[in-house]
């Protein structure tokens, strides 16, 4: 049996009912015991009740996922307060291990090292791809990724998204088996006879002069070109706002200049979005670091470019293999959904990619506060970006091809 997956969605506002619906529907569609549940849900739910209800139906099936600003399936994206999705995966060719580490804000480096140690402990055979779902508000994901990659014996495809909470910027949730955590990282290690392909794109356009981060500490940027970071950012906003709002910041971000080796085929910048403002110092907080001395440029979002670059990267992803993947995971920035496309979010930016890769494929994702994907072999933390991960059963050596869906 190859790798098979089924996807269920619930909009039921009763958390326990929604959880039971998800697990029951997905397992019924799968028709067999699942080896992994991937779960994403919006923040209206009582998260503990939701996960408990899934576990009630699914038993000890390993589970990972997180809260998101919205959820994504083949029926498009849903960014309402009550929407939850679950993918049940079963495979005799792939292995699935789940893990979590808490205290991300206090020690992102330690969290990265812990995950690396866990991966090393499982052995190379079980490590084909690592999915990460860190808290999107609390920790420095750039530090997390750096420590993680330093600790791995050899490069490993890493992808994922950071948890969201309906743009309330209060608290996000990470799911690991029956537990619901915050300020944590949930992780899934996929191994066995499978391969993955990832694609990443943003569609932002650099504007204005190149600037320099003149004072920063990890994710906290105090000064840009010698002025407070907030005063620089605010110059692009109307009506001299007193606070940083999602509605304002979603139209603007900073592009951090990439090293030449990683920029090839992608673009000069990786996006950086401020998630917090310190009124006293005028410092902006970025969940991905902006190191002192970094070259940055303001970027504006362009809906047409977002759409075109998403379709381009999906086309490139589809072209890498001569067959359809067994499943697709989709991590899309919260700022790339309804907030920019309105009612037409699915039609403009989601469905076109699904049409390129296959409308019948099991497809699961969520709208994240930050995205994780590799560029040039290195995993980066991104903002305003879409990451697609396609999983394939490894082709047999006798050339008969994959047996997905058998």
């Amino acid at each position: 049996m190859g790798t098979v997956a089924s996807v269920a969605k619930s909009e039921n506002r009763n958390s326990a009912t929604a959880g039971r619906e998800l697990a029951t529907l997905a397992l019924a569609a799968l028709g067999r015991r699942a080896d992994l549940f991937l779960v994403f849900a919006t923040a209206g739910y009582d998260q503990a009740a939701l996960i408990a209800a899934i576990a009630e139906v699914g038993g000890d099936t390993p589970l990972a996922g997180c809260s998101g600003e919205g959820v994504i399936t083949q029926s498009g994206s849903d960014e309402r307060a009550y929407a939850a999705v679950l993918m049940a995966i079963a495979s005799e060719r792939a292995t699935f291990d789940t893990f979590s580490v808490e205290g991300l804000s206090k020690d992102p480096r330690g969290a990265g090292a812990a995950i690396a140690a866990w991966v090393r402990g499982l052995g190379q055979r079980r490590a084909r791809c690592l999915l990460l779902f860190p808290d999107g508000l609390t920790g420095n994901s750039t530090v997390l990724l750096a420590a993680l990659q330093e600790g791995l014996p050899e490069p490993l495809p890493i992808a994922g998204g950071t948890a969201g909470d309906l743009a309330q910027f209060d608290r996000t949730f990470q799911y690991h088996d029956g537990r619901v955590l915050s300020d944590a990282v949930a992780a899934v290690l996929i191994g066995g006879d499978v391969d993955v392909e990832t694609a990443v794109s943003h569609g932002c356009e650099p504007i204005g002069s190149v600037r320099t981060v003149t004072r920063s500490d990890g994710g906290t940027v105090y000064e840009i070109d010698g002025r407070s970071a907030w005063s620089v950012f605010k110059e692009y906003l109307d009506d001299d706002p007193v606070d940083l709002s999602a509605a304002d910041s979603v139209h603007l971000s900073f592009g951090e200049r990439l090293p030449e080796r990683d920029a090839a085929g992608y673009g000069q910048y990786v996006m950086r979005t401020p998630f917090g403002l310190d009124h006293e110092s005028g410092a902006l907080f970025f969940p991905g670091s902006l190191a002192q001395g970094s070259k940055i440029q303001m970027t504006r979002r362009d809906p047409d470019r977002i759409r075109q670059s998403a379709m381009k990267s999906a086309t490139e992803l589809a072209a890498r293999r001569s067959r359809r993947p067994n499943l697709v995971l989709h991590f899309d920035c919260a700022g790339r959904g309804r907030i920019i496309f309105g009612e037409r979010a699915s039609e403009m930016a989601i469905t076109p990619m699904q049409e390129i890769l296959g409308r019948e494929l099991p497809w699961l994702g969520f709208h994240s506060y930050g995205e994780i994907a590799e560029l040039g072999g290195t995993a980066y933390y991104h903002n305003y970006t879409v990451v697609l991960l396609a999983l394939y059963d490894r082709e047999r050596v006798d050339g008969r091809g994959a047996d997905a869906g058998e």
């Binding site: 909009e11 929604a18 209206g44 309402r80 906003l237 509605a247």
Partner: protein, 503 residues
């Protein structure tokens, strides 16, 4: 040298900032336009659906759906005044998972308050003494709120009350919409007073549609009422016509009976006078004939005197009969079993029947036949007359049978005595006259036509009724119905002809 590029760069940067701000405003305007288009679409959908709906409850449900869809409410009810008391739940809309928790709407005790315009509570104060509070509490109880975070205990985060009115100003009902908590996504409507004009638009739209449906129903009811009234009046007229025709017929019948009765009365007076005048001479003739007969000088004279005596006796008998018809003697009543009456009548006629070669008998009688409270002499004579008539009508070899059964007439218990013959029967044309005095079908000298007239008189004197049914060539049956108890005696009904020619 370096200042020029810097100034140029600064100017370009400023232009970029301006462009970004303008673009941001355009995005904002685009969102507003999209929102308005969304609302316009919802209103159009509502208008198209409500226009086709012929039921006010369905229209109210569509209004709820439009408000729930556009303003992201969790729960919504439409309440209208109940027929008896309180408020009826006319429509219900909920998001999945927000359904009422196994509770039924019990609105009998809830009166709909008069509300002037849409009211928004975000949230309602627990101490609110608003007259709407009782209604909202009832709705709260119906849904059994789950009290998630963001919701005050027992009170939803947002409540909206929308009044609906008829053109007359009468309140049609209230829409109550609820949002359980305030956890909404960036893209869901955070409802505010600014949304109330849209709510008013929805209300106005459905008010017009409900008004149309109700007016149409009222018109239909009026038209149906009109048709009903016409039908009722037509039926009433037909009944009056029938009654008039019946009255007219009765007047004619009564008139004819009056004429007959006056004729009979005059005849009876004449008969009574004549009989009285004849009685004495006949008595004298009879007396002398009997005296002379005892001293007859020879047999030839004796035969002649005997003939005179026989004929005089016959005349005397006729005269007594005629006097009996005119008189109305008092009756002595006794309790007599019907079987006694029938058997004695058969015994009295047995000799004559044997001579005529006619078989006469009493049919098997029910064991529980009640006794009759009657004048035995009067009814023995009457029954004897009926048996005599039957024997007269029946040729040799025929039968005359007598029977009795219990039978109710007009809820009065009684016994029906029947005398049935297998004789020649009575022609249909004569049936209506058989009870008339002096009507007879017998040849001259065989009777003067007083028999059935006297029988009827005797029966009616007992509160009974007599009927004759005859089948020409097959025989005749005379049925005499008598009430069983004296207390059940009632005035004689007027004998009537029925379709079969019975009386």
């Amino acid at each position: 040298m370096d200042e020029e590029p810097t100034r140029e760069s600064d100017a370009l940067n400023e232009q970029v900032k301006l462009l970004v701000k303008t673009e941001r405003r355009l995005y904002g305007a685009q969102r507003v336009i999209e929102m308005q288009l969304h609302r316009l679409g919802a209103l159009n959908t509502l208008a198209a659906s409500a226009n086709r709906a012929g039921d006010p409850d369905v229209i109210l449900g569509l209004a709820l759906q439009a408000l729930v869809d556009v303003l992201d409410f969790d729960q919504a009810v439409a309440l209208v005044p109940a027929k008896s008391a309180g408020a009826r739940l006319a429509a219900l809309r909920t998001q999945p998972g927000c359904e009422p928790c196994d509770r039924r709407w019990s609105g009998r005790a809830v009166e709909l308050p008069i509300v002037d315009e849409p009211r928004l509570y975000m949230p309602r104060a627990a101490t609110s003494d608003d007259d709407v509070a009782a209604l909202l509490d009832a709705v709260n109880t119906y849904f059994a709120p789950r009290g998630r975070r963001g919701a005050a205990r027992g009170v939803p985060a947002v409540e909206l009350v929308v009044p609906l009115r008829r053109k007359s100003g009468m309140q049609l009902g209230l829409l109550v919409l609820r949002k359980i908590d305030v956890t909404v996504s960036l893209h869901e409507t955070r409802i505010s007073e600014a949304d109330l004009p849209f709510v008013e638009l929805v209300a106005t739209r459905v008010e017009a549609d409900v008004e149309n449906v109700l007016l149409y129903r009222e018109l239909e009811a009026f038209a149906a009422g009109l048709e009903q009234k016409v039908a009722e009046r037509t039926a009433e007229l037909a009944r009056t016509n029938d009654a008039l025709a019946l009255s007219l017929r009765r007047v004619r019948e009564t008139q004819a009976q009056l004429v007959e009765a006056s004729k009979s009365a005059a005849l009876l007076t004449l008969v009574a006078g004549l009989s009285h005048e004849l009685n004495n001479p006949i008595g004298v003739i009879l007396g002398y004939a009997q005296g002379l007969l005892s001293r007859a000088p020879n047999p030839a004279t004796a035969r002649q005197l005997s003939a005179i005596e026989r004929q005089a006796r016959r005349c005397s008998h006729l005269v007594r009969a005629m006097l009996g018809l005119a008189a109305n003697p008092p009756m002595a009543l006794d309790s007599i079993p019907p079987a006694v009456l029938l058997r004695s009548a058969v015994a009295d006629a047995a000799h004559e029947a044997a001579e005529r070669g006619v078989r006469i008998y009493v049919e098997a009688l029910p064991d529980d036949l009640p006794s009759l409270f009657i004048s035995e002499e009067s009814l023995r004579e009457a029954l004897g007359q009926l048996v005599k008539n039957a024997l007269d009508a029946t040729a040799s070899g025929g039968t005359v049978s007598l029977s009795a059964r219990e039978r109710r007439r007009n809820a009065v218990r009684g016994v029906e005595l029947s005398v049935q013959d297998s004789g020649a029967g009575i022609p249909r044309a004569f049936l209506s006259r058989v009870f008339d005095p002096f009507f007879t079908t017998k040849p001259p000298g065989k009777g003067i036509g007083l028999g059935l007239s006297l029988v009827r008189r005797a029966v009616e004197a007992h509160g009974g009724r007599i009927e004759v049914r005859s089948d020409l060539g097959r025989g005749t049956t005379v049925r005499v119905w008598l009430p069983i108890a004296a207390s059940e005696l009632h005035p004689a009904e007027e004998p009537r002809l029925d379709a079969e020619g019975t009386r």
